[in-house]
Symmetry: C2
Subunit: 453 residues, 2 copies
């Protein structure tokens, strides 16, 4: 590698190999989003820091990439102030913009900014990169794509149902066997009420969200450290390990939560959702998982998380119902529900399980050997015909040695090579070589087209 | 607008209206690129400043968006140094990364970094946003997309020919009547030799590049100011206004440039290119324009620029042959040729000339009215069938007043509304309303599908 050609740590180039496969994922996801009536949206890479700061907690603020103001940005600064200024203080003086940290806050900002132009319910999808100044490590990047789909301005459970259909259809198209785990924040609230720790819901959910990662014992320790009484922790245990099928679990819970209005409302929502889902033959497994809380604290109803069945990699999709997204920008009482697909993990799953189609429909099918002069012009007739029929094909640009041109076809994985020299020209034919079998045949233009198609 | 919801000046949100149309452009361009065997590439939004600085001249350096280092970036700074530091000096201390300014330099960086994995000739396309801290004004943005297509590692004129085919096919697909202007830097060099100002090529081309913008008189003034002798300027005039068709122009030039080896080489290239092009029926007009120089100074052979015939907006595509792109990263003698499509201008042309298709194939075709309860479930059967047949459709999520649901269909421009209440359910039918004609008809599921398809 020549000097000075490294890229910033935590970022990636996507060469043709990755791009073709990533686009296969994005295109599948987009196709489903559109079929369900969701509309595309894109927001700028940078937002004003005033829109971003304070939206992701202290940790989030710290992880924002800040963009230096342009021009002579120090002009208005009193220089003696700089002598003992801290990094954060200085940032606030010289940076007004930052790179977006997720797609959710810019979406909320967009909704509030364009309130008068939007028809509610507003169904949008958004597939764009986001940036986080996280410590780079395996599978964690400083620039990565999010694929979000949300509907806001409707309280109907029908939306949750449809999002689950979307999840099922996306992963079915991609060939990923998966389990869609469901929970409901209201049920968690009911449980917190039940054990007499209604005000500690956040501590409780943050802790139980970690069950899979750190195990029940350490979760119980954490609850104890957070000051949840032993008795309450004890009462929590059977609830978290209910046995049986989805409806069995819910029936048992109905008994347990009978005194909690909120809990029963959550159960009702869950049952309605199951009723909806029973109308469809889903490829995904549906599993009610009361330990599912997800880290983010803003879910208010349904909580959704998807895992690949055949490869352990954490969740490949997740989301839920939130009530006050646009509230951070002063717009109250607009409920929304959405999920986000994790493109990087989906890519990893598909690569490991060999789920990508062997050849994309867009790969080059034919390389035409370039012999120069009259032969080149003769070959161009075939090239024109192939392309007119929508077949991706290319001619080697230089009339160099045949071996070099064949090597190019091989390294590009092009399945057919077309050879047209003086002999072929005399016969009015083209020699087509199948690079896999090595088979060669002399063909007219029509026969050639038929063979490739 | 609520407070705090503005976006940084010079940036844009792309709502559904713009997105659908922009994607129509990008998808058309991508389809053609792929058909011609070009491979997709994406590079990160940020590059190390060491890769960017000095690549775009002083002006370019100034227009780079710099990203503040993360964490306590002042830790290693001697504080007393800050008291009288300048903005630029400070930037160099606290910023290591910048947002990419174009796609060309990151492409060159990619090629040099991945030299051992790449098969040459390397044909790549890249469609991504770039950022420039330019003063925002009408039609000039701080974040905008570039669509570049380049082949590097081949000197053959065949590549120039193919890029022109690509241009022709893209604009033909988009319905934009256009003129592809061609020139060759070697011809310009020959002319500079002819008038005895061989070393002043840059001054000459930079000036004549502005002919269309500021007129010939002011160009001559500028040449004079740059110190080109009156006599040389005088000798330049007839060359710049050669009359006749393309081949006539070239024939006259052949006579004029007969003593310049470089000039004649450029003429030969141009003639070979015309020979290639004569084999195709192009929709675009081809015009040799010796005043075409383009601002950037790195073109060494062909220079290409495209204008829309029916709307004045500057060039909508442009590029040329360069010899030393990767040279900036230490890789010498790798010639390349490429063009860049201007998505924003193409969008404006198509909008003004009403060239976008009235409806994209991906728009929602049917809204199902939601009456709740049993009616909703009955309607869901139709929704399932429509979607299984690839028809984008959606149900209104809440069982609200019919009028509100109809308004939603109208504002979303959905052409059909499906109504299924108790009466329809009894008959086993669905009422389909054509929102344009107002016509309503009762249909079975099969008839419904047929009608929509």
């Amino acid at each position: 590698m020549a000097s000075g050609t490294a890229i910033p740590k935590g970022t990636r180039d996507f060469g043709p190999f990755e791009m073709v496969r990533r686009n296969y994922i994005f295109d599948s996801i987009k196709r489903v989003f559109k079929k369900y009536g969701y509309l595309p949206l894109e927001t700028p890479a940078m937002e004003n820091l005033s829109s971003l700061l304070g939206k992701y907690g202290e940790e989030g603020d710290r992880l924002l990439f800040r963009i230096l103001n342009s021009g002579d940005y120090l002009k208005k600064t009193k220089r003696n102030e700089l002598a003992d200024i801290g990094s954060l203080e200085l940032s606030n003086l010289i940076c007004e913009k930052g790179l977006k940290y997720d797609l959710t806050v810019p979406f909320a900002r967009f909704v509030v900014q364009h309130l008068n132009e939007i028809t509610f319910p507003f169904k949008r999808f958004q597939i764009q990169p986001v940036w986080r100044a996280d410590r780079p490590q395996k599978g964690r990047y400083r620039e990565f794509y999010q694929c979000d789909v949300d509907v806001i301005g409707s309280n109907s459970l029908y939306n949750e149902y449809e999002l689950i259909l979307i999840i099922d259809e996306v992963f079915s198209e991609l060939g990923i066997n998966n389990t869609i785990k469901l929970n409901n924040r209201k049920i968690l609230l009911g449980i917190a009420e039940l054990i007499g720790e209604k005000d500690r819901l956040t501590d409780i959910t943050v802790a139980i969200d970690k069950i899979e990662k750190i195990g029940i014992d350490r979760v119980n320790e954490e609850l104890e450290q957070k000051g949840i009484p032993q008795q309450a922790i004890k009462r929590l245990q059977p609830v978290l390990f209910l046995e049986g099928g989805n409806r069995q679990k819910l029936n048992k819970l109905k008994e347990i939560l009978k005194d909690s209005e909120t809990g029963l409302a959550g159960l009702d929502e869950m049952l309605s959702l199951l009723d909806y889902l029973d109308r469809n033959k889903l490829k995904s497994e549906i599993e009610i998982d009361l330990t599912l809380a997800r880290g983010l604290n803003y879910y208010t109803g349904a909580i959704i998380e998807v895992k690949a069945n055949d490869y352990a990699i954490g969740s490949i999709c997740g989301g839920g119902r939130y009530d006050d997204l646009a509230g951070v920008f002063g717009l109250k009482d607009v409920s929304g529900v959405g999920v986000s697909f994790g493109a990087d993990r989906i890519y990893d799953v598909m690569l490991k399980l060999d789920l990508f189609p062997e050849r994309g429909g867009e790969d080059v099918r034919v390389l035409l050997v370039n012999f120069g002069g009259e032969d080149e012009l003769y070959a161009l007739d075939a090239l024109k015909l192939l392309r007119e029929n929508g077949i991706s094909s290319e001619m080697y640009p230089d009339p160099v040695k045949m071996k070099k041109q064949m090597n190019y076809a091989n390294s590009r994985n092009i399945p057919f090579v077309l050879i047209a020299g003086e002999e072929e020209r005399r016969k009015g034919e083209y020699t087509l070589k199948d690079m896999k079998t090595g088979e060669q045949s002399g063909l007219t233009l029509d026969a050639l087209l038929e063979k490739i198609q």
